[in-house]
Amino acid sequence: MLKIIVCIKQVPDTSEIKINPQTNTLIRDGVPSIINPFDKNALEEAIKIKEKIPSEISVITMGPPQAQEALKESLAMGADNAYLLSDRNFAGADTWATSYTLAKAIEKIGHFDLIILGKQAIDGDTAQVGPELAEQLNIPQITYVKKLDLVMEEPAKIIAERLLEDCTETVECRLPVLITVTKEINEPRHPSLKGVLKAKKAVIPAWNKESIFCDDDKIGLNGSFTQVMKIFTPPVRTERETLSGTPEEMSKILVQKLKERKII
């Protein structure tokens, strides 16, 4: 049985988010929470694998107690197990402390063949947790996967197509491996009516720092190398200039202007 772990994050629905113009911060009150869309692609990919190869899918999230909702939705979509990592001491974690915490939970779950994450979360947009988690677990990683094939003959391996800026790259790798996926990989399904009923009844274990044996100085704000000092909306610049001419002429003018302003 293939053991798949999917890490998800509950994020504010950015399509509903507004910015307080006085303080320049996000207004989170009353904004619905959703599963980070790329993480839904990660879960969908796991379910698709399970439809072909006998698998067990475990979903993990680190977050406040209400992140349970995201786990229930994952169960409704078709995950088998869900784990909530919730502890006041996890709060304020940067990507490194987050990936450490996820790694500790994965160690506790035990065996795994494949770990799937979304390429990034739409709130932080760092795209770091996946790669860092692979480092913490000391396994190979393939990021930005847009197509995935599993070859189960020993030694089991995956063949992944990576979506890069101007090309795609096909990578082969033996299991276990961690991948991060792009939205191109699939179209996440809706939870079925049976699924939501089943998920409602599910009891989701909540793990704190003791249950997964975390070092205090590696979690939450304490364990974070980076800290967010300030979030602000860049002021809107009204100064604009449209260049005209042939592409050659325009690029010359552009280079000149950039030099004038000491940008290059």
Partner: protein
Amino acid sequence: MDFNLTPDQELIINAAKEVCLGEFSKRSKETGESSAFPKENVKLMAEMGMAGIPFPEEYGGLGSDFLTWTVIGEEISHACATTGTIFGAHMLACYPIFIFGTEEQKKKFLTPLAKGEALGAFGLTEPNAGSDASAVQTYAAKDGDHYILNGTKLFITNAGAAGIYVVITKTARDKGARGMTAFIVEKDTPGFKIGKNEKKMAFPGLPNCELIFEDCRIPKENMLLSEGKGFRVAMQTLDVGRIGIGIGSCGLARAAFEEALKYSKVRKQFGVPISSFQAVQFMLANMATEIEAAKLLVLKAASLKDSNGKFEKFAAMAKVYASEMCMRVTNQAVQIHGGYGYTKEYAVERYFREAKLFDIVEGTSEIQRGVIANHILKES
């Protein structure tokens, strides 16, 4: 009467709503205008578990109830009336097997229907048997352990796409309603084929075809209830079907109302939005009120059905009131759109044509009034 939904019912309904809004609505114009059967929507309904909402889990259903089925039916028809009508017609095959089927029949036929592995259809109407169901001529002749069917049905919704058909026949030609018998017929049975598809005023993607039986041998295990009880099977199936048409009417009417409301706020004449004219406001007020009234009547019938109450009269009332309401509301929605509402640019043009089906199908308005009057007179 209390229609407060339980948390479980709400959960299921919200999950269904998400698909309706996210998928069916998105492509409803295409679905409503194309002559292709909306396979993708039907597949999605199956995957979502919408095919067997009120049936027990042991038969592949969701283990919910008819009220939930009804509320979800409204959401589907609101998003896409073609899909809603397929959903309703599917029930016409599931229900008689659930109510009258033997354990064997439920295992063999209800289970794939409820799981959505097979779509269902119900064949009663014939060229000479419309409102007068007892005039059915399709004949099932007994031959040992089999019945041999000969005859032609028409207008049958889901025909061709469906895998399992409940077919009403005559087994005794001279006995009228008492000589009728219901059979379960599988799609690929030799001697059974799908005939002409009707070209209709609306719903081009909805199959309404002939079912042609030519010496079609059906094992007697596929008989529902018993010989001579086919009329009862048909009538009780239609009692539930009426809830389906009633709620489909409510969903379609709500879609038309929403379009009209939206349009009335943006269309300006005489320097103001047309929604500021009392004449338009009154139309909107009537539409909203009638939709609400119809929905309450349909939910009452569904709720009574769930509590094993006498729901038949209310189902007929719900069907006639909701379907005629749907005609009025879609008509007014076109009126509010003015000339634009008469063009294919606006969905209300199609809604108006679609609405007309509901006061005809599964017993015309006249037949419903007859049913209601019969109940009233019997009760008095």
